[in-house]
């Protein structure tokens, strides 16, 4: 008598959960469609990161599942080309190339896997997308290292623009907007 009561309870649960979808339905994986504006940019330095992603799933019956990705991530830091200003003017016998550089920002990223470690061949991290998670983590890291990238980027930009100015026999005057150098009150005279 008791057995049939519990059996009835179980059958009712099966039907109700099936009919009313009380069981957890599968998660919809939404693909991120991040549309980046086609803004041209000049990258001045690349931050190189070692990224390790570990996914651990405890199992009730069998061995716990582990999935590990290890690789190198690169973040390209640089400047919006539309915001870089070029001015050429004469000062005595010298021709000066003035380049105004805006604030540094993240331009692009690159991610390459070096090693994959897993418990068994068919284990798939069920509820997490490793690529989304890694990008989320890099979003926060990128901001943390912006100051250091700024310092390194400035050195690189100064080096390359000095060489470019030398090709054309010009003297370089590099202005960084974030250092708040006072702009000239009088606009520079045009080359005659």
């Amino acid at each position: 008598m008791n057995n049939s009561k519990y059996l009835t309870l179980f059958i009712l649960f099966i039907f109700s959960s099936g009919c009313f979808n009380l069981v957890r339905s599968e998660k919809n994986n939404e693909v991120i469609q991040k549309i980046k504006n086609d803004i041209p940019a000049l990258s001045s330095c690349v931050g190189i990161f070692n990224v390790v992603y570990c996914d651990y799933n405890q199992n009730w019956i069998s061995t716990d599942d582990i999935y590990i990705l290890e690789g190198i991530g690169e973040i390209h830091y640089g400047y919006d080309l539309n915001k870089i200003k070029f001015n050429i003017y004469q000062e005595g016998n010298e021709k000066i190339l003035r380049v105004t550089i805006p604030e540094i920002e993240e331009i692009a990223r690159k991610w390459k896997v070096d090693n994959i470690y897993r418990t068994h061949r068919n284990y798939n991290p069920q509820n997490n997308d490793p690529n989304k998670e890694i990008n989320k983590d890099l979003d926060s890291r990128s901001k943390q290292y912006l100051q250091r990238a700024n310092k390194f980027g400035k050195e690189t930009i100064k080096f390359y623009f000095t060489n470019i100015a030398e090709i054309y026999g010009l003297t370089l005057d590099l202005v960084f907007e974030d250092e708040k150098k006072l702009p000239l009150q009088i606009p520079p005279p045009e080359l005659k």
Binding site: V31, P40, N57, A108, W111, N131, I167
Partner: protein, 235 residues
């Protein structure tokens, strides 16, 4: 006490199921064999694929087991190794999907091949791996390009070099009945993924990004070339 009661109830349910199954088999063995055959047909031959009650049964088992299994734990560690000096010109960005499918025999096809001895190519798509990439296109080592074209009079924009792929970043992935390891192997082999992305870009037959990139490069080169022309005039 509350948890003890729950465990006791679950034990009683399982006990009731097992006892009643045995009673049923003993009472009507022919019907039991028929039901067992139906279960085998469902599990191994896909005859009843998609029928509501069986889907509900499968989902219920998953739900019950999830009460005992803890959620996945994810840990990410990111360490800065250093900075590298590079001056690249990014002219455009693109979002590209790379799809890999897994083909296999359906279970009834496997049974048929086993009986008849035939071995045709599997056609049913049983799994897929879709990776979404953000691709940065432009010119590497801009300084060398400017040095090369310094002083040259560029009459036609087509004289300029074609842009190349500078960065490839997987931003999302979707895996169904496909090994995650096999899916991520694409990010291990850089030459293969670069080739696939190039094929996708060229298959669109849209040369706008090439024209756009050359246009931006030409503006930069023209800026410095105009200084050179001015110098010539002064001399």
């Amino acid at each position: 006490m509350k948890y003890q009661n729950i465990i006791l109830t679950i034990y009683k349910i399982i006990n009731a199921i097992i006892v009643n199954i045995f009673k049923f088999i003993v009472k009507s063995p022919k019907l039991a064999i028929l039901i067992a055959l139906l279960i085998v047909a469902y599990s191994y031959l896909d005859f009843f694929k998609g029928i509501g009650i069986f889907t509900a049964l499968g989902k219920t088992v998953k739900f019950i087991s999830s009460m005992f299994i803890e959620e996945e734990e994810v840990k990410i560690s990111t360490n800065l190794l250093g900075f590298r000096k590079e001056m690249n010109l990014f002219t455009s960005f693109s979002i590209i999907d790379i799809l890999q499918v897994k083909r296999d025999y359906l279970k009834r096809e496997k049974l048929k091949n086993l009986i008849t001895g035939e071995k045709s190519e599997p056609t049913a798509v049983v799994g897929y791996c879709k990776k979404t990439y953000e691709v940065g296109i432009g010119y590497k080592n801009l300084y060398q390009i400017i040095k090369e074209y310094a002083g040259k009079d560029i009459k036609d924009i087509n004289e300029l070099p074609e842009p190349e792929i500078i960065t490839i970043n997987p931003i999302a992935s979707d895996v169904k009945n496909y090994s995650r390891e096999e899916c991520d192997q694409l990010d291990k082999d850089e030459s293969v993924r670069l080739q696939l992305i190039k094929e996708k870009l060229s298959s669109a037959q849209d040369d706008f990004y090439i024209y756009n990139s050359k246009n931006i490069l030409s503006k930069l080169i023209f800026l410095f070339s105009s200084i050179n022309k001015q110098e010539g005039k002064d001399e």
